[in-house]
């Protein structure tokens, strides 16, 4: 008899699951889904590399490169906390699936050697 109540409830109430992937839930604001680096702001200080527990980040100050292995990253967010210029951030969406193992490789802009503001902008455009 105790089943009757449950059966009626299940017939009338909304489904507990979602029609994924047609319907997706909005990610929560503080979710750590993807590591991103604003390479223009990055000063290549290596703090993220030294604090990373899974050692997935490689920074080269001379070549001005920042490299991350997204398959080794554990999304703990420690690098984001230690970043002195806040160039690292976590996006609240998952990284899309890939069939190949790819590194996130980022080449920073060349170091500005007391150039004028106008020249700097032109240099960036050329790079793009």
């Amino acid at each position: 008899m105790f089943m009757t109540k449950n059966v009626i409830k299940n017939l009338l109430c909304k489904s507990a699951t979602r029609m994924y992937p047609a319907v997706t839930r909005e990610p929560f604001a503080g979710f750590r889904g993807m590591l991103e680096n604003a390479i223009d702001v990055c000063i290549f200080c290596k703090k993220c590399q030294l604090s990373c527990p899974s050692q997935c980040i490689k920074v080269d100050l001379k070549a001005r490169t920042w490299e991350c292995d997204p398959f080794a990253c554990v999304y703990c967010g420690v690098c984001v906390d230690v970043c002195p210029v806040a160039s690292l951030s976590m996006r609240a969406t998952y990284r899309p699936v890939t069939a190949e193992r790819e590194m996130i490789f980022m080449q920073g802009p060349p170091k500005a050697v007391k150039a004028k503001a106008g020249e700097k902008k032109e240099e960036k455009k050329e790079e793009e």
Binding site: F2, F28, R32, V74, Y75
Partner: protein
């Protein structure tokens, strides 16, 4: 009939993780059991020699996928004791709130798996549906569903806003309502009682002599809980250990079911008394000396031994997980049990093999 040797595991439909038991059987009754461990050893303790003590927080979290927060909390407590850091009160309350949320979802997961072990699929489904609310709370407040990474030496990394607190309160109300709706099924259903009552009995003396911990110990009539030590903010919260006296699988089920409701109450208490202030303090210096810390995991008492040598690497990190302590009691429960009940008995200690082998 002559005695037969039957291997149970390492791969078995009821086992989430690999453990091997060599069962000696006579007329389908188990006479003795010999365990074999070591299928998922990862060498996490050794990593303390090449990762500094801050990075180890993220590594000890991965000892156990279900109670990650509690592992990190135990490790941080040990280091704070070594380095003489006084954690802010707000951080202590937040640690309690998150660790109790972990206990709720771990117990709901276990009740589901246990129901699955004796073929009660719909109870499994209901428990895991309720658990999803707790996972959402984890995701919204800490940034991840399972491995939450909120602990640092000296406090916690994230704060709970007022909106989050009220939202957690609302969600917990729903969780409590839904868990109570399952009460009649879990506690008084004929199927559940038939499969669990009187099966795998661990007497009060045996539980003490073999060093059982956690719900296994409390189901045998001992009112022992590491939370009674008063770590974090547990000394300021109202709390009494849940005790059952039969020592069988049913008693262990009831203990865990009642602990879900107790943890809901503890989260509410922690949030209602949440003091204002900082959530962490800056930590200077390196750990030096030895320390042993204990906390209560969902599965029982967790013990960390930490030895620092005044460098950023630890000399030794030893983790004794509750499942390791509960394997001798399991071997005492098995003799006399029917072969068909072995999965139920094995699952009743809530085995976490990855924890045990680290």
């Amino acid at each position: 009939m002559a005695r037969t040797i039957l291997p149970f595991g390492p791969q078995h439909p009821v086992l989430p993780e690999p453990i091997h038991l060599t069962l000696e059987i006579e007329d389908e009754i188990v006479k003795s059991a010999v365990p074999a461990l070591g299928y998922v050893h990862r060498g996490l303790e050794k990593l303390c020699e090449i990762r500094d003590f801050h990075q180890m927080i993220q590594i000890v979290e991965r000892v156990c996928g279900i109670c990650s927060k509690i592992h990190a909390m135990c490790y941080c407590q040990g280091l704070e004791e070594l380095m003489g850091v006084e954690v802010p009160r707000r951080a202590k309350y937040l640690r309690v709130a998150w660790s109790e949320l972990h206990r709720i979802h771990s117990h709901l997961l276990w009740i589901g798996l246990f129901a699955d072990a004796f073929g009660f699929e719909s109870l499994f489904m209901q428990c895991w549906r309720i658990r999803e609310r707790i996972m959402d709370i984890n995701e919204a407040t800490t940034g991840n569903r399972v491995v939450v990474s909120v602990n640092v030496v000296g406090g916690v990394r994230r704060d709970l806003s007022k909106e989050h607190q009220t939202w957690i309160g609302e969600q917990l109300k729903l969780v409590e309502k839904e868990v109570l709706a399952l009460k009649s099924t879990i506690v008084s259903d004929y199927t559940v009682k038939r499969r669990t009552q009187g099966v795998g009995v661990l007497t009060k003396d045996q539980a003490h002599q073999l060093g059982a911990v956690g719900p296994v110990l409390r189901a045998s009539g001992w009112a022992q809980d590491a939370r009674m030590l008063g770590y974090a903010a547990f000394d300021e919260l109202e709390f009494a250990p849940v005790v059952e006296y039969d020592g069988d699988c049913y008693a262990r089920l009831v203990v865990r079911f009642r602990e879900v409701l107790q943890s809901v109450d503890l989260v509410r208490q922690a949030l209602s008394r949440l003091p204002e202030g900082d959530i962490n303090v800056p930590v200077k210096g390196k750990p030096k000396g030895e320390v042993i810390t204990r906390v209560e995991q969902p599965r029982g008492e967790l013990l960390y031994y930490i030895k620092g040598n005044d460098t950023k690497f630890l000399d030794r990190l030893r983790i004794r997980t509750p499942t390791f302590a509960n394997i001798p009691p399991l071997l005492a429960m098995l003799p006399g049990v029917e072969l068909a009940d072995v999965p139920v008995v094995v699952l009743s200690i809530d085995p976490c093999i990855s924890c045990t082998e680290r």
